[in-house]
């Protein structure tokens, strides 16, 4: 899932300071699971912002609610009226949610309340770690199911490097060496032969290096005729 973290409150306070009516919108998807922008976090942020405005003697209105998935226009559309009734929308979703609102209502101000961090998994309660960078060309079938791009500090395709010692990474001794883990996993799977061939330099054109990526699934797209029919239903 997408893992995000609330911006420091002092930064949010400064962002919203000039606006009289602020709507804080959370999301029930990834950011709710990573405890950054779900219903509870939205309520707590709204409460803290109200307190700060009270302390400063500022007349500011804050309202907070959540949508099912802020990155999908259909869900955002449902709360359109509430959003546009405010001077500013503070998005408590990942950057995708904030940008969806921004793209739908370009003249309306939408600011991010979270810092979007990574594609991660919950390791234990309250701990998330990065396991994918979305490079667009998955190779984990050759690395025992462990991504060296995300989990090796140097994103090495042929490892481990000389800085790996006692199964730890030289960048941070708290961090496990991804390549030591890959070795262990391949050994367990009796596929150690996979670690020997040299993997050539990665083609990064499938990643962000090629500019903004758009994926299209032709069979799922609506034809002009279908679009017309859908519009008529509205």
């Amino acid at each position: 899932m997408i893992v995000a973290k609330r911006k420091p409150l002092a930064e949010i306070v400064e962002m919203v300071r000039p606006y009289k009516k602020v709507t804080v919108v959370g999301c029930r998807s990834c950011v709710a699971i990573c405890l950054a922008g779900g219903e509870k976090e939205v309520k707590m942020l709204v409460s803290a912002l109200r307190l700060r405005a009270k302390k400063d003697g500022r007349k500011q209105e804050f309202e907070g609610f959540v949508v099912e998935r802020q990155c999908e226009k259909e869900w955002v559309k449902e709360v359109e009226e509430k959003l546009l009734d405010s001077d500013l929308t503070l998005s408590m979703a990942c950057s995708l949610g904030a940008q969806t609102i921004g793209d739908m209502y370009p003249s309306h101000l939408t600011f991010p309340g979270l810092n979007t961090g990574m594609f991660g998994v919950p390791e234990e309660q309250g701990v998330w770690s990065e396991k994918c960078v979305g490079c667009g060309n998955c190779i984990i079938h050759t690395t025992g199911g462990i991504c060296p791009i995300a989990r090796c500090a140097k994103s090495m395709l042929n490892g481990p490097c000389g800085g790996s010692a006692n199964r730890k990474c030289e960048v941070n001794l708290e961090v496990d060496c991804a390549w030591a883990a890959i070795y262990d996993r391949l050994k367990l799977q009796n596929r150690l032969d996979l670690i020997e061939p040299i993997t050539p330099a990665k083609d990064w054109s499938t990643s962000h290096a090629g500019g903004r990526r758009t994926y299209v699934r032709e069979d799922a797209k609506l034809t002009p005729h279908q679009k017309k029919g859908k519009e008529a239903l509205k």
Binding site: P8, L9, A10, V13, K40, K43, M44, S47, A48, L49, R50, L51, R52, K54, K55, D56, G57
Partner: protein, 139 residues
């Protein structure tokens, strides 16, 4: 403003916390009557939003009073309570509001002396810091 009574809200667990408070009252100890108590099943049930809402509704100081951590009736409830209080204290500080306005206290049901001590401390904080609202009366 001069004779304004401090507004203190205490979230007290119904087990050791409230028992200590009751024992304190039965022992003849008095505490400031302006303190309002909210009885909760366990301090682990107290959420960050409850604490913030109390401040939002005009409290000058808020405290959570529960069982001793290794003697909690629900085993880990007061640990949860402490973690939430810590998180909200951090939020208050980030928002520029004195974190001393919020505290957690732990007591065994026999610690009758602990309750008035906690109340006294929070009333003192409330008097010292006054209402959160600038120039307001905390309404």
């Amino acid at each position: 403003m001069a004779d304004r009574k401090p507004k203190v809200i205490g979230f007290v667990c119904e087990r050791h916390g409230m028992e200590a408070a009751v024992l304190s009252a039965r022992s003849g100890k008095q505490h400031d009557a302006s303190v309002r108590l909210v009885e909760v099943p366990c301090t682990g049930r107290v959420d960050g939003i409850h604490l913030l809402k109390a401040f939002e509704d005009g409290a000058d100081a808020v405290f959570v009073f529960g069982c001793l951590e290794k003697n909690c009736y629900y085993d880990t409830g007061s640990i949860e309570g402490r973690k939430r209080v810590g998180y909200v204290k951090q939020m208050l500080e980030e928002a520029g509001i004195e974190k001393e306005r919020l505290e957690m206290f732990n007591a065994a049901s026999s610690n009758a002396w602990m309750f008035p001590k906690a109340v006294e401390k929070m009333v003192e904080v409330a008097k010292k810091l006054g209402p959160i609202e600038k120039g307001g009366d905390g309404q």
